[in-house]
């Protein structure tokens, strides 16, 4: 009996010691004068350029120590929102795009940056090609673009040379794109090469209309402008110039493999693909031009997503956070990522030169990429709005109904209009 009691007491003792040791000393902040900056980010350990950039920053600012808090890319948005819901004291918060940032703003998890921008003489909004003004809600700025993307038409030069067809050019309209895709479709069965490829995202269709600003998710009056685009894409699908949406969805085929394996001559996708191509394609030459549109626009506007960086609402060191943000989103940070073919949010002649010089390091890259980067206006793919996530959901659902031909294009666009108007009224 005694042995049992001693055993239990010992066990309880070990348990409590274990618990108490877990509660560490939380006041370790000022480690000999250094400030700890908590940065929430995804894929830090698998992305080289983050480390390069962060190290460069700490070198320049030896009194700041960066504490990276990394989450997996897939669940990043939900995880960060939940953590901030628990008032986690992230100083710097990366978000995956404007819908995620809109959500964080609506919940009060990030602070506005207007004062920092005003008081920072080195910070110039114009270097961001109109993006700062689009990262606003209720006229307050909440994020600075770390990277941005532009949707481009990527094409396989070798396949065009083989078919003796001239390369696609800026300013095509949808009909011309369709005809070109038909021309470039060849073969059957496993050897089939499609003329073009549309990934299953709804944005792959609506971005074509968004670039010339003929479409705005928040304005249902513009939804009818989607009809001609859907009509043309469905016609391409019917004629086998592009892969069938249903088949793509059922087999979870990723667009990158299709292009790498030369199973498609053209694809419309974002500039993040440049980095992928630089690393993965060595056996054929590829080129870019602007996406088609029915409004007669050449390469003038760019449309795409942004990776905004913000300051957390419960941050302990907001001033240092701003220093960090303005560095990585500024010239020096931009140069680091531009060298890997990723588009920084910051724009300058130096950055453009880096992109023009890419063919020197990567043989298959096209010349003069800066033509499609140094553009007058960048239109953000998804506008900042508290309801943008729900709107995107509705657009995706109706997109899948239209593309699987479960309903007609007219009906689909009508449903989009009805559901989004209802959502906006509530």
């Amino acid at each position: 009996m005694n042995k049992k009691r001693v055993g239990i007491a010992l066990f309880a003792g070990v348990l409590s010691i274990g618990m108490l040791s877990g509660c560490g000393d939380e006041k370790k902040d000022a480690k000999g004068g250094k400030t700890d900056l908590k940065v929430a980010i995804w894929d830090y350990s698998t992305t080289e350029y983050y480390k390069t950039m962060f190290d460069a920053f700490t070198k320049k600012n030896p009194d700041i120590n960066i504490e990276v808090v990394e989450f997996s890319a897939d669940e990043y948005d939900n995880t960060v929102t939940t953590q901030l819901g628990g008032k986690q004291d992230f100083d710097v918060v990366f978000t995956k795009g404007t819908p995620a940032l809109s959500g964080l703003i609506a919940q009060g998890h990030v602070i506005s940056l207007d004062d920092y921008i005003k008081n920072d003489s080195d910070f110039n909004k114009d270097n961001y090609l109109g993006l700062i003004d689009q990262l606003t809600m209720d006229d307050k700025v909440y994020g600075v673009p770390f990277r941005k993307d532009n949707n481009l038409l990527f094409y396989n030069k070798d396949l065009f040379d083989k078919a003796d067809v001239p390369y696609p050019e800026d300013g095509m309209n949808m009909k011309e794109y369709h005809e070109l895709a038909e021309k470039m479709t060849s073969g059957t069965g496993n050897d089939k090469v499609y003329g073009a490829h549309f990934h299953t995202w709804a944005s792959n269709v609506y971005d074509l209309a968004r670039r010339p600003e003929a479409f705005d998710q928040l304005d249902t009056d513009t939804y009818d402008n989607l009809k001609p685009y859907y009509d043309e894409v469905l016609a391409m699908q019917d004629e086998g110039a592009i892969q069938d949406y249903g088949a793509l969805k059922s087999s979870n085929i990723h667009y990158s493999g299709v292009f790498y394996n030369q199973q498609t001559s053209m694809i419309t996708i974002g500039t993040w693909f440049i980095n992928n191509l630089l690393e993965n394609v060595t056996d054929f030459n590829w080129g870019v031009c602007s996406t088609p549109n029915n409004e007669g626009m050449g390469k003038d506007n760019a449309v795409g997503g942004v990776t905004p960086v913000s300051i957390g609402a419960y941050a302990k060191h907001p001033d240092e956070a701003w220093k960090f943000i303005s560095y990585i989103c500024g010239e020096e940070g931009a140069e680091v990522i531009a060298k890997t073919g990723i588009l920084p949010g910051y724009n300058s002649d130096k950055i453009n030169q880096i992109f023009d010089d890419l063919p020197k390091t990567y043989e298959n890259a096209p010349e003069n990429l800066s033509n499609y980067i140094d553009v007058d206006k960048y239109v953000i793919e998804q506008r900042m709005d508290p309801k943008i996530k729900d709107i995107e959901n509705i657009l995706t659902e109706e997109h899948s109904e239209i593309m699987t031909k479960s309903i007609s294009v007219d009906e689909g666009v009508k449903k989009m209009k009805e559901r989004v108007s209802e959502l906006q009224q509530n």
Binding site: G103, G246, D390, E401
Partner: protein, 290 residues
């Protein structure tokens, strides 16, 4: 006496504590949340019955997901039940390789849902899948587009669920069948009963407790289905496979409407509870115990 009770309680305490902290209290919290509005950032706001009013009058997706859930349940449950009983009867007969067949039929239940879903979708791929390949070879000109069609997406998922689950319930029925006294079959055969009559008058009445159990398990599992839809169709095309659990997930984690999602969860809870209570009432009249 007191000491014995204390010892007993201390044994069940850890599990009870865990249940209390991680299951019971969150459920109560969710019940309270269903009368509030909360997006996890701003403070919780009490709104009374607003969530329920919105749900029943303004949210079209609620009715669509409820309809989809009922459609899914009404087909999956009886089909799985009948098939598993049929297979169990078959696997109870003294055929060659019986053990092999039993393992083969049980295997889908053990396999990972993700793996099964990926392969199922590949099989039913409207353009490239072998199912449609066979149908077209047999002369069917426009075979169904399966998961790429609003009409056929749900049947495709139902097929997946039935195929994957029937092995497990077959084993449960098998155990029950082996508890049926052989003398009853012999007596029935002597009286000149046919196979069907033997089933109806000997087999079926003797496995009613098992049927009740399986029915309940199937119903609860069907009502809370989410993962299968998430992996295969993400609720699509359109809203064709959006079930209630999917709508709850969307409301909570995409739309950040935790109060509304809690209200939806409460409704789902009540539905499942009502169904289970009806079952329990029916059980008294329905089941026979030997």
């Amino acid at each position: 006496m007191k000491k014995k009770n204390l010892v007993a309680y201390s044994f069940i305490l850890p599990n009870l504590l865990g249940f209390f902290v991680f299951t019971f209290i969150p459920i109560i919290f969710s019940l309270l949340l269903s009368f509030c509005e909360w997006d996890s950032g701003n403070p919780i706001k009490f709104v009374g019955l607003d969530n329920f009013v919105t749900m029943f009058t303004k949210d079209k997706s609620f009715w669509i997901s409820l309809k989809n859930t009922l459609y899914y349940t009404v087909v999956t449950v009886p089909v799985t039940l009948v098939l598993s009983l049929f297979l169990a009867i078959l696997m109870n007969k003294p055929i060659k390789g019986r053990n092999f067949f039993r393992s083969v039929l049980f295997f889908p239940y053990v396999a990972s849902l993700v793996a099964v879903a990926v392969v199922w979708m590949a099989l039913f791929n409207p353009d490239r899948g072998p199912i449609n390949g066979i149908l077209m070879a047999l002369g069917v000109n426009n075979p169904p587009r399966w998961a790429a069609s609003t009409t056929w997406a749900m049947p495709t998922i139902i097929g997946l669920t039935v195929w994957k689950g029937m092995g497990y319930y077959m084993i449960v029925y098998l155990a029950a069948l082996q508890g049926v006294p052989k003398e009853l079959y012999e007596a029935a055969a002597l009286d000149g009963a046919s196979g069907w009559q033997q089933f109806r008058n000997v087999t079926w009445p003797n496995v009613t407790p098992t049927t009740f159990f399986i029915l309940m398990m199937l119903l609860v599992s069907a009502f809370k289905s989410y993962d299968t839809m998430y992996i295969t169709t993400q609720g699509g095309p359109g809203e064709a496979t959006k079930v209630l659990a999917y709508h709850i997930y969307n409301s909570a984690f995409v739309s950040s409407k935790f109060g509304y999602a809690s209200a939806l969860s409460m409704v789902l809870f009540v539905i499942v509870m009502v169904v289970t209570l009806i079952q329990f009432k029916g059980e008294k009249r329905f089941t026979n115990y030997l």
